[in-house]
């Protein structure tokens, strides 16, 4: 089945074979490997994308159901010369170690900051509770939010 998805502002057409997830199509068919595959059960958030305005686990979205939707992946968030402030803050605060959770974390983090520029600590913790990080213990990620909220990036 042919589906068209507006990904990072660009219409992308793809022939979906069957029961493929949006994650699989992004990674294997559309050359967008930034979105990561770590559990395929919607538990870890490594595959987070913005899907029609909401942060979702792309492993839980059927690719055929994404027809006509708008999707933002980590590749669409910032450029090397113009990083999103939350990407910049993640670098400044040491929120990146192995980096495998990072694409999902920056997608979820940027989305939260768009909806709430001054989130409280517990609001941050709840909004990011679907993004597992095994390296940082979350402290540096929390400080990255505080850095953005203070306007220090």
């Amino acid at each position: 089945m042919n589906v068209t998805i507006k990904i990072n502002g660009e219409d992308r057409a793809v022939d979906v074979a069957g029961a493929e997830s949006l994650l699989t199509v992004l990674r294997n068919d559309l050359d967008l490997p930034g979105t990561k595959d770590a559990c395929e059960q919607g538990e870890c958030g490594s595959c987070s994308v913005v899907f029609d305005g909401d942060v979702v686990c792309s492993c839980l979205v059927m690719a055929v159901d994404a027809d006509g939707s708008e999707v933002t992946t980590v590749e669409g968030l910032g450029t090397e010369d113009d990083l999103h402030p939350f990407q910049e803050a993640m670098l400044a605060e040491g929120g990146v170690q192995c980096g495998f959770c990072t694409p999902g974390v920056v997608i979820a983090g940027a989305h939260l900051l768009e909806e709430n520029s001054q989130p409280s600590e517990i609001e941050i913790r709840e909004a990011l509770s679907g993004n597992i990080c095994r390296c940082t213990g979350y402290g540096a990620i929390l400080r990255a939010f505080e850095t953005v909220a203070r306007g220090d990036v």
């Binding site: 059960q41 040491g94 170690q97 402290g139």
Partner: protein
């Protein structure tokens, strides 16, 4: 002539510089092993044993081979070289040969045109089994003589006794490293019979040795390359899909990619050893330890992996960071049909730290002493004898300083909020605030640095001065911890320039850096980079009769005598070293000797809120003071401390692979619980610098300490809140409620 060390170089040691791989990681274009791709590549998939112990009675690959798009199906019959592999002992067949020894053991692999076809083809292979009774009780295994190692420690007076005696039996469950990146490999035939392999690893040279043996290929025809890695924590210390993906590429002549899914990952790498430990501590009336007696039993699962070294660590850290003149330890690691165990952050010291710190609290209670006063009174310090091996502690060991520093961190205010997100159980299983009890607990942990017991432990590095800047060549594995930054910082500081790039060499280009494990790379590869940079600097200064190297040339008494272009006029100048730490020795038959190269100590304090009626826990804070030797990158240290603590939180209250008759019942992220942002306690850290005797600039490795004493501190806090004895981790609701 005196060589001056340039100070103030940008991005040198002691600063929290940004990671050079940070920008690609936040942008999503850092290439992990699972992202590698080529147009003509095939996908690999694995067929595994559904039984923990079973005889293979029929294996028919024909249905898979007959499928469209399937290019190869391989089994143990296709292994050309040594039929078995293993880091220490080559006891594991490349594929299950006649009998499956653990749940998930690979039986066959398939290469096909796409991932879906590969998985369907793997499922189409006909495999028939005669199930056997799995041996899953480690005590029974040891009684039957099935162990990977048994060891004894006898030090001091076996007949010594103290008037104050406490005994306990402790257990730790099976913990998984659960790195976010699963196992992945990409093998590319070179057209001349050899291949290039990009694979998730912690030590590509030891992988390479095993791979070429099983492939029966000349070492220089296989090149293992470092690949982008999504965390490790011990899970990549041993071979997973390496040999399989290489065999598929050789069989098909095409590039082959393999990526484990999460359930395969749980099946496909070693775990933290589950343990049972019996302890008796004897002290005098003033609380001074007189004798510690322990029996330790670890379950190594089906194959050896690093079980021998893990057992030694557990045994040598039986007493923790305390003086005791008489110690008796009998330890064994059993061979069973449970999932194979091996390296995980803390490597044996985690298990015994939980038991021994629990014992110290019991002892303090019996003596009516403050738990920290008891620890201070018995604290092991530099110059003391290790209570187990008897070796004298060289270098620094700021045990008292870390205890003092963690105690001095202010305690948080009592809970005064009804927000369910801050209560035990969270929004799903909410405790009323009035029923929540707070507890505080402490623990102190000791760990060895780098490899022990006479292992020839070394790391190679090559530092090259070019007209465009400095290159540092290494085959060390950057798994996320920030070795890349530390190596840059060391080279910058020694060579006086911030223009330093790290080049990850493959196994044909440089010798081994040793494993990214045992808290060793900052000291070992960092030490090699330091020695190579010093050698290069001294050579350049000697060649140009200078006394200082700066980023724009060689200086003598403040005047420039050569530019960097002059230095490199005949081409790049380089220095290559193989760095070794102080020699260690195997223990004697009583476990005595200089078995370790160095030690690191840390203290943790946990604050928990518990609902004793529902058995729910919220870990409010875990604070720590950490011995670091010298802080090379304070931000990276904080990241290790916070991240390591969270794995300690996991073992304390939620992480357990539930295993029944050798089968893992929860091999998914839905059922194996890892601390999330909402589970994560606040963490306050204190870095204690006491300079060590052999790490670069006095640095110590700190990767494992945060995971060692955090777990017992949390359990101590839950005991303080509830009065329950709690002798097993993770602590479950039923342990708290007492049902």
């Amino acid at each position: 002539m005196t060589t001056r060390t340039t100070s103030g170089v940008r991005g040198g040691i002691g600063t929290s510089v940004r990671r050079p791989d940070g920008i690609p990681k936040v942008m999503g274009n850092f290439a992990y092993a699972s992202d590698l791709w080529s147009e003509d590549m095939l996908w690999g998939a694995t067929r595994r044993s559904p039984h923990a112990h079973a005889r293979l009675t029929r294996l028919d690959i024909a249905p898979a081979l007959a499928m469209n798009g399937v290019r190869a199906v391989l089994t143990q019959d296709d292994v050309q070289g040594k039929p078995t592999f293993g880091q220490e002992e080559q006891d594991q067949p490349v594929f299950c040969d006649n009998t499956a020894q653990y749940w998930g053991e690979p039986v066959a692999v398939v290469a096909a045109d796409d991932e879906e076809t590969a998985r369907r083809a793997a499922a189409a292979i006909i495999v028939e089994w005669e199930p056997l009774t799995p041996l899953t009780d480690p005590e029974q295994a040891v009684e039957e003589g099935l162990s990977f190692r048994e060891m004894r420690i006898r030090r001091g007076d076996e007949d010594a006794s103290g008037t104050i005696v406490v005994e306990g039996i402790y257990e730790t469950a099976t913990q998984d490293q659960a790195p976010l990146g699963t196992e992945a490999g990409f093998a590319i035939p070179d057209g001349e019979g050899g291949l290039d392999l990009y694979v998730t690893s912690q030590w590509i040279h030891v992988d390479h040795r095993q791979i070429v043996a099983c492939l029966d290929m000349a070492p220089d025809s296989v090149r293992c390359h470092p690949a982008g890695i999504g965390g490790a924590f011990g899970s990549r210390e041993d071979i997973s899909l390496h040999i399989h993906v290489a065999m598929l590429a050789l069989a098909t002549g095409r590039p082959v990619k393999m990526v484990y899914d999460r359930t395969e990952s749980f099946a496909g790498h070693v775990k933290r050893h589950p343990s049972r430990m019996w302890y008796r501590h004897e002290a005098d009336e003033s609380g001074m330890l007189v004798k510690v007696t322990a029996r330790l039993l670890l379950d190594g699962g089906a194959y050896a992996h690093t079980s021998r070294a893990v057992l030694a660590n557990a045994a040598f850290f039986t007493v923790g960071p305390y003086r005791c003149d008489s110690v008796v330890v009998d330890a064994a690691v059993a061979k069973t049909n449970n999932p194979p165990a091996g390296a995980m952050r803390g490597f044996g010291a985690v298990q015994t730290c939980f038991a021994s710190e629990s014992q110290m609290d019991l002892l303090a209670e019996k003596l009516g002493m403050d738990p920290l006063e008891l620890r201070r009174a018995n604290a092991l310090l530099a110059g003391d004898h290790m209570s187990t091996s008897g070796q004298i502690i060289e270098g620094s060991l700021p045990t008292l300083e870390v205890i003092d520093a963690v105690e001095a961190i202010p305690l948080p205010d009592p809970l005064d909020d009804d927000d369910p997100r801050l209560l035990p159980g969270g929004t799903g299983l909410t405790s009323p605030r009035g029923s929540v009890v707070r507890g505080v607990g402490y623990a102190v942990g000791l760990k060895n640095l780098a490899f022990s017991e006479g292992f020839d432990d070394f790391a190679e590095a090559r530092v090259v001065m070019t007209a465009a800047g400095v290159e540092v060549h290494t085959a060390a594995m950057e798994v996320g911890q920030g070795l890349v930054t530390v190596c840059q910082q060391i080279a910058r500081t020694v060579l006086g320039t911030d223009q330093v790039a790290i080049v990850w060499d493959d196994t044909s280009q440089i010798g081994s850096a040793g494993s990214t494990s045992a808290s060793r790379q900052t000291q070992m590869t960092g030490g090699a980079v330091h020695a190579a940079a010093v050698g290069l600097r001294d050579q350049i200064l000697a060649d140009h009769d200078g006394d200082e190297l700066r980023d724009d040339g060689v200086y003598r008494e403040g005047e420039r005598v050569a530019t960097i272009d002059d230095v490199c006029s005949s081409g790049p100048v380089e220095h290559h070293v193989q760095f070794r730490h102080p020699e260690t020795f195997p223990p004697d038959e009583n476990g005595q000797g200089d078995v370790h190269a160095g030690f690191v100590v840390a203290a943790h304090r946990a604050v928990v809120d518990v609902d004793p009626e529902l058995g729910l826990v919220r870990v409010v804070r875990v604070d720590t003071a950490q011995d670091v030797g010298t802080a090379l990158n304070p931000q990276a240290i904080t990241g290790q401390l916070e991240g390591g603590i969270m794995q300690g939180v996991g073992l304390a209250v939620m992480e357990e692979l539930v295993i029944n008759e050798g089968i893992i019942l929860n091999p998914t992220f839905t059922d194996y619980l890892i601390p999330t942002f909402l589970d994560a306690p606040a963490v306050e850290t204190r870095i204690v610098e006491a300079g060590d005797h052999w790490g670069p600039f006095g640095a110590k490795g700190i990767g494992e300490s945060p995971t060692i004493s955090s777990t017992p501190a949390i359990v101590a806090a839950i005991r303080a809140a509830t009065g329950r004895p709690l002798s097993r981790v993770p602590v479950r609701p039923e342990d708290i409620v007492g049902i």
